[in-house]
C-alpha cells in the first residue's frame, strides 16, 4: 500500500494494482488512477521542471487544466508523446513516463541556473537582453534561445496508431456531465429527443465525484449519479466519456475528441486511438463547470502547493491524501470543505489562512470542531522548501498593510482564489461576456445554446441542479418540444462565495516576489506590471509581451489573474482592459485526431483509370495530374526517365505508340439547341461542322483569356462529344452549367459528365491506321479523314472512335465503356505487336505535342493568354456574332502591340532550358533586369536537340532574334522560332 493511499477510499480499484515507471523508477498505482494521483499516492509531488526558470514543479490541479505536471509518456514503440498532462493520463500496465525540461535529473537540474538569474528573464527579455551586438542575433542568440526553448521532446517516429472520424447529428448535445449536465440531459431526454451527453473524464459525475457526502433526493451523491446515468442510458441518451468538446463552431457544430485506447492495457486490434466527432446539434447545453483559480503570492509554485479543489478530488476520487499536514490559503468558502474532508481522513490541517476578515460561522464551527486554526484577514507572503513546500508564512493584513508574519510548517499548501466559469466553448461562438464585479459570465449568445451551473457563476449543488434542469427544458423548447420541470432535494449542500484578488499583499519586496500567474509559461505578477509600465495597455498586448496564457493550457488558470493585475496596474476596471480570446481546441489535441483517415493510402483522394493496374504491373512511373495519377513513362530495365521518354517518342514517330487518355474530361452536350450552345461557349463556329466530324475547340473566359481546349466531335445534329483537359473537366462543366442556368435558361440543351463513362485509349504513329483497321467495324474508311468521329465497334466492343492527333502522327482515340477499358487496351497491345506497339506516358505525350507546337492549357497559358497570343487566331470564328469572351478580344490592351506571345526557342549551345526561366533582351543591363517573358515548356526532343516554348513580349515580331536567359550557371542564348518544330506542313497526318 502506498504511503498516502487511504485504504478502501476513492473510486480506484484497490484490488487492481498497476505498475508504471516514472523517470526509470517503478511505482505502483491502482486501476482508475491517473499518473498524477498514483505519484501523489507514493508521496511524489515533484513531477517536472518549469519552462523558463526550470523551477521544480508538482501537480497543481487534478484535471485537464494542469499547467505543471507535463510529462513524456510512452505506450510502446513509436508511441511516445511529450507534454502529456499527468493529471489526465490514466494508468495502464507498463506505462513509461518521464519528467521534462531537466538535465541531468529532475531533482538536480543545471538549467535551474535560469531561476537564479530571473531578473534577466523578465517580460520581453529577449527583445532587450539580446539586442547588442546586432550581428549576434542570427548566429548566437537566436540559436541558443531556440535550443533552450520548447517543452518536451518531439516524437521522432511515425505514429503507428490510427485515428477515426465520425459525424453525429443530435437534437441536444450536453457538454459536461457534472450535476448541471446530468440534470440538463435528464430534462432533455424526457421528450424522446435524441440527446448526447459528453464528458472529458473517464467517469461522469463531475464535482459530485469529489463531494460524496452531498445527498440528492435522499441518496448519497455517488449513488445518485449512478442512478441518473442508468436512467439516461435507459432513455437512449448517448453517453460519451473521455470525450473532450474541443471547439464550438458555426451553426452548432461542435468538435469532440474521444480518447479510446490510451487507458487500455491491451487495445483491441484495429481499434483507433482517438476519434474526432463532428457534431451538428439542434441545441447545445454548456455545463462545463468552473475552474479553480490559484492565488498569487511568492513561492506559490512549489511542489506541494496545489488547488484546494484538486486535493479534494485526489482524496475522494483516488483515495489519496496529498499530505499529512496541509495548510490552506483561500479567499473562497470551498477550500474549507477540502480542509474538512482531509482532516476527516486523518490529515492534520496546520491552518486555514483566509484573506477575508469575515468567515461564515458554520465554516468556523466546522474548523473548531476539527481543531483547525483559522487565520482570517491574513495573507501569505512566501513559502519555503526546495523540492517540496515545507512551510508557509502567514501575516495579518489590513487593506494593503501587512503585519508581522509567522511561519507555519506544512507538507502541502492548498490554495483557492475562487472559481472561474469555463467560458472557452462559449467564447468560440463569439458570444459576449458580462463582468459581474468578480469574474466574467456568459452574456449574449450567438448560437442555439444554453449555459448551466457553475459555468455561469452559480455555486452550490441545489442551485446548479435546478439550473441544469431548467437549461435542459429550454433546450427542448428550442426544439419545439416540451417537458416537465424537475426538482431536486439536496442535503449536505456545500454552497460558497468568495473574494477576488490581484497579488496577495506582502511585506516583502514585490519586485523580487516569485508570484506566479502562468505556471506553464513562467509568468509572474511583476511581469504583468512591468508590461503595463512599458506601455502595454490592451490585455492582448500584455498577453503577447509576457506570454501570459499563451501556453498549451491557454491560460485556464492564469487569464483572470493576469487580467486582474493588469487592470489594477492600469487603474481600470477589468472589462475595460478586456479578456483575451479563447480559441479551439479547448485542450491540446493530437494531430492524429485531426487527420483522422487522411493519411497513408487514404491521405488524399487519388483517381485511377481502368488501365492504371496494367500500367502499374508494367512498371510505369506515375505523376499526379489534378486528382488523377497518370502513367508518366514506362522505363525498361536500366533506363532513366530521359532514355525511356526518348525511346517512347521515337517508337511512336517510327511506328506505333499507345497511351491511356482516359482522364481527359468528357462532356455530353445534348439537345435541340446543342449547336447553338456550342457556338456561344466556344470561339469556333460549330453550325457547319457535319455529324461525324471533329474540331479543335477553344474556350475563353469573359476576359478573353484561354480557359480550356479540346477536340470536340459532333456525333449527331443534336449531340456533341466534348473533351476537356484532364485538370479542367470539372471547371469547364461548372462554367457551362453556370452559363446555361443563369444566362441561357431558354436553351433546350443539357450537359452530362461522361469522363468516367468512357475509357479512352490513344493510338499514334504511322502504323496506327493499319493496325486499327482490322479491329473496327462500322466505319467507312473512305470517308474517315483526320478529324472524324464515329460510333462503331473496336475489338468487338461498343466504341466511339475519333481520328485526331496530339502528336503530329496519324492518331486515333478509342472510347469504350469504362468497364471494357482494360480489355480494349490488352486487345490493342496484342494487335499492335507486329508494329512494336509501345506504351507511352504523359511525358512522351508532352514532348510529341510540343514538337508540333500544340499548347497545353495551364502550362503554355497562364490565364493571361488570348487566342492571338497563343497563335490560335485561326480557331476564333471571326464571323460569329458572339461567344464567351468575344467582347474582351477587342479591348484596347488586348489588341495593343507588345503583348506576350507564344513562340519557340532553340538554344545556341543546344542545352535544355528550364521551364519557368525568365527571359531578357539584354543580359548586360543593370539589375533588376527587364524581364520580357518566360519559358513555358522545355524538353529533349526526337529532333536531336532540345526544344522550348516561351511567352515573350512582341514575340511574333522577334522571329530569328536572339534572347537571353540568365541562369545561376551563366547566361543562355536562344533564337526565337516558330512553335512548330516538327512537320510544319502536317504531311504525316494525311498518311
Amino acid at each position: 500500500m502506498s504511503r498516502f493511499r487511504i485504504p478502501g477510499k476513492g473510486r480506484v480499484d484497490h484490488a487492481a494494482p498497476v505498475s508504471f515507471t516514472f523517470d526509470g523508477k517503478t511505482y505502483r498505482g491502482l486501476r482508475g488512477d491517473t499518473v498524477a494521483s498514483a505519484l501523489l499516492a507514493n508521496g511524489v509531488h515533484l513531477m517536472g521542471r518549469s519552462f523558463k526558470y526550470h523551477r521544480p514543479r508538482g501537480a497543481v490541479s487534478a484535471g485537464s487544466e494542469e499547467p505543471n505536471a507535463l510529462i513524456g509518456t510512452s505506450r510502446g514503440a513509436g508511441r511516445f508523446e511529450p507534454n502529456t498532462r499527468a493529471t489526465v493520463q490514466e494508468l495502464r500496465a507498463g506505462l513509461v513516463t518521464e519528467s521534462q525540461n531537466k538535465w541531468p535529473s529532475l531533482s538536480f537540474d543545471i538549467g535551474a541556473v535560469n531561476d537564479r538569474a530571473y531578473m534577466l528573464f523578465s517580460a520581453g527579455f529577449y527583445y532587450k537582453t539580446f539586442m547588442w551586438p546586432k550581428s549576434f542575433w542570427d548566429k548566437i542568440y537566436e540559436p541558443v534561445i531556440r535550443g533552450a526553448a520548447g517543452l518536451g521532446k518531439s516524437p521522432t517516429e511515425a505514429d503507428p496508431d490510427h485515428y477515426a472520424s465520425r459525424y453525429l447529428h443530435t437534437d441536444v448535445l450536453v457538454i459536461g456531465a457534472g450535476p448541471a449536465g446530468i440534470a440538463a440531459a435528464l430534462a432533455a431526454a424526457q421528450s424522446g429527443a435524441d440527446v448526447t451527453l459528453v464528458d472529458e473524464n473517464p467517469e461522469m459525475g463531475g464535482s459530485l465525484l469529489s463531494d460524496p457526502a452531498v445527498q440528492i433526493d435522499g441518496r448519497p451523491a455517488w449513488d445518485w449519479v449512478d442512478a441518473q446515468l442508468g436512467r439516461l442510458r435507459a432513455a437512449g441518451v448517448r453517453l460519451m466519456t473521455r470525450t473532450t468538446a474541443i471547439g464550438y463552431y458555426h451553426q452548432n457544430m461542435v468538435g469532440l475528441c474521444q480518447r479510446l485506447t490510451d487507458h487500455l492495457d491491451t487495445p483491441p486490434k484495429g481499434a483507433p486511438r482517438e476519434r474526432m466527432w463532428r457534431v451538428r446539434a439542434g441545441q447545445v447545453v454548456l455545463a462545463q463547470g468552473a475552474l479553480e483559480k490559484p492565488l498569487v503570492f511568492d513561492g506559490n509554485d512549489r511542489p506541494g502547493v496545489m488547488l484546494a479543489g484538486a486535493a479534494q478530488t485526489y482524496l475522494h476520487k483516488y483515495g489519496v491524501k496529498v499530505g499529512d499536514t496541509p495548510a490552506v490559503i483561500t479567499s473562497h468558502d470551498s477550500a474549507y470543505y477540502a480542509a474538512f474532508d482531509l482532516a476527516d481522513s486523518g490529515a492534520r490541517v496546520a491552518a486555514i489562512i483566509d484573506t477575508r476578515d469575515a468567515v461564515r460561522p458554520d465554516l468556523l464551527d466546522g474548523a473548531r470542531l476539527r481543531g483547525i486554526e483559522v487565520l482570517s484577514g491574513h495573507t501569505v507572503t512566501t513559502t519555503r522548501g526546495r523540492l517540496r513546500v515545507k512551510s508557509v508564512r502567514a501575516a495579518p493584513m489590513r487593506g494593503t498593510h501587512v503585519g508581522t508574519g509567522r511561519d507555519i510548517a506544512c507538507d502541502c499548501l492548498l490554495m483557492s482564489g475562487g472559481w472561474t466559469p469555463s467560458l472557452h466553448l462559449f467564447s468560440h461562438t463569439k458570444g459576449s461576456l458580462a463582468w459581474d464585479g468578480q469574474t466574467f459570465l456568459p452574456d449574449r449568445k450567438t448560437e442555439a445554446c444554453e449555459i448551466a451551473g457553475a459555468g455561469r457563476g452559480l455555486w452550490g449543488y441545489a442551485d446548479v441542479l435546478a439550473d441544469g434542469a431548467a437549461a435542459g427544458l429550454r433546450a427542448l423548447e428550442g426544439l419545439g418540444r416540451a417537458g416537465h420541470p424537475a426538482g431536486f432535494r439536496v442535503a449536505n449542500d456545500r454552497p460558497g462565495t468568495g473574494a477576488s484578488h490581484t497579488e496577495l499583499p506582502t511585506d516583502g519586496n514585490p519586485g523580487k516576489a516569485r508570484a506566479f500567474i502562468d505556471f506553464q509559461n513562467d509568468v509572474t505578477a511583476k511581469d504583468i506590471r512591468l508590461a503595463v509600465r512599458e506601455g502595454m495597455r490592451s490585455i492582448e498586448h500584455v498577453k503577447r509581451y509576457t506570454t501570459n496564457g499563451m501556453a498549451t493550457d491557454q491560460g485556464k488558470m492564469s487569464n483572470i489573474n493576469g487580467l486582474m493585475i493588469a487592470a489594477d496596474a492600469l487603474g481600470k476596471q477589468p472589462p475595460q482592459v478586456g479578456l483575451t480570446t479563447f480559441r479551439p481546441p479547448y485542450t491540446p489535441t493530437s494531430f492524429g485526431a485531426f487527420c483522422g483517415y487522411l493519411r497513408g493510402e487514404t491521405f488524399q483522394l487519388t483517381r485511377k483509370t481502368p488501365i492504371d493496374g496494367w500500367a502499374e504491373a508494367n512498371g510505369a512511373v506515375f505523376e499526379p495530374v489534378a486528382q488523377w495519377r497518370r502513367a508518366w513513362y514506362f522505363p525498361r530495365a536500366g533506363e532513366d526517365m530521359h532514355a525511356a521518354v526518348l525511346r517512347e517518342c521515337k517508337a511512336t514517330r517510327a511506328s506505333l505508340g499507345i497511351f491511356d487518355a482516359s482522364t481527359l474530361g468528357k462532356i455530353e452536350v445534348a439537345g435541340p439547341d446543342a449547336v447553338e450552345f456550342m457556338n456561344r461557349m466556344y470561339t469556333n463556329p460549330w453550325t457547319k461542322l457535319a455529324p461525324g466530324r471533329c474540331r479543335y475547340g477553344l474556350l475563353l473566359g469573359e476576359d478573353g483569356f484561354i480557359r480550356d481546349d479540346g477536340v470536340i466531335g459532333r456525333l449527331s445534329p443534336d449531340l456533341f462529344h466534348v473533351t476537356t483537359t484532364t485538370g479542367g473537366a470539372a471547371r469547364v462543366l461548372t462554367m457551362m452549367e453556370d452559363y446555361l442556368q443563369t444566362e441561357w435558361p431558354e436553351l433546350d440543351v443539357w450537359l452530362t459528365s461522361t469522363t468516367e463513362q468512357w475509357a479512352t485509349v490513344a493510338l499514334n504513329g504511322p502504323n496506327a491506321l493499319a493496325m486499327l483497321k482490322p479491329l473496327v467495324q462500322g466505319v467507312n474508311w473512305d470517308d474517315f479523314p483526320h478529324m472524324s468521329c464515329a460510333e462503331c465497334t473496336v475489338a468487338g466492343l461498343p466504341a466511339r472512335l475519333f481520328r485526331l492527333s496530339f502528336t503530329g502522327e496519324v492518331g486515333f482515340e478509342v472510347n469504350v465503356p469504362a468497364r471494357h477499358g482494360l480489355t480494349l487496351w490488352t486487345a490493342l497491345m496484342e494487335a499492335g505487336k507486329p508494329y512494336d506497339i509501345t506504351p507511352y506516358g504523359t511525358e512522351t505525350m508532352h514532348v510529341l505535342r510540343a514538337e508540333k507546337g500544340y499548347i497545353i492549357v495551364g502550362q503554355d497559358t497562364d490565364g493571361t493568354v488570348t487566342p492571338a497570343d497563343a497563335g490560335l487566331d485561326w480557331a476564333v470564328g471571326k464571323a460569329k456574332k458572339d461567344f464567351v469572351g468575344k467582347r474582351s478580344l477587342s479591348r484596347p490592351d488586348i489588341v495593343a502591340k507588345g503583348r506576350k506571345q507564344l513562340v519557340g526557342l532553340l538554344t545556341e549551345d543546344g542545352s535544355l532550358l528550364q521551364e519557368g526561366a525568365q527571359i531578357v533582351l539584354d543580359p548586360d543591363q543593370p539589375k533588376p533586369m527587364k524581364m520580357v517573358g518566360h519559358v513555358t515548356s522545355s524538353y529533349h526532343s526526337t529532333l536531336g536537340h532540345p526544344i522550348a516554348m516561351a511567352v515573350i513580349e512582341g514575340g511574333f515580331d522577334r522571329m530569328g532574334e536572339t534572347v537571353f536567359i540568365p541562369m545561376p550557371d551563366g547566361v543562355r542564348k536562344a533564337r526565337v522560332t516558330s512553335t512548330v518544330f516538327y512537320d510544319p506542313d502536317n504531311t504525316r497526318l494525311k498518311a
Partner: protein, 176 residues
Amino acid sequence: MTYEKHHFAAALAVVEDLAPALRLSLRVKPAHSATLGQALGLDLPTRVGARVAAGGTEALCLGPDEWLLTAPEGTDLATPARAVYADAPHSLVDISDREISLRLSGPAVLDLLAACCPRNVAAMPVGTAARTVFDSATVILWRDGPADFRMDIWRSFAPHVRALLAQVQGELAAGL
C-alpha cells in the same frame, strides 16, 4: 445482383459490389417531364430524393430537371424516349459505366456511413436517395431499408471510398 462479397470478421457492416445495371441520366425541363414519364412507363417523381419504380425501371429525382433512371442491363429506354423527343426535348445519356455501386448493410451500417458522410443519414427515409459526399467523393446514397443502403460512386473514386470503408469496418470490428 450480388456477385462479390468482402468478408470481415464481424458482419456489423457489410460491403458488397453490385453487378452492373443500366444507368441513364435524364435531363428534361419540368414542363415536359410528364411526357417523358409516360413514354418510359412511370411517373417521374418531382421531389428531390424521391424514387418511383415501375416495370423494373426506377427513377430518382436528383434535381428539378434531373433524374437518374436505373433498370436491368439490356432494357431499352432510349427508343421510347426518342419517340417523344420532338414533343419533349431532353437528354438521355448512358452513364452505366460512369459509376460503380456498392451495397452497404448490417446493424452498424449507419456508423459506417457516419464515418465519412456529413449528412444525417439516419434521418433519410427508407425508399429515398440523395446526392451527397463520402469523404471527398460525390456519391449517390440510396436507402433501401433501415440498415440497407446502396452507394453509387464515380469509378475512379471507388478505390478511395473502398479503402475508407475497409478502415471503418476494421474499427467497427474492434468494437471501439
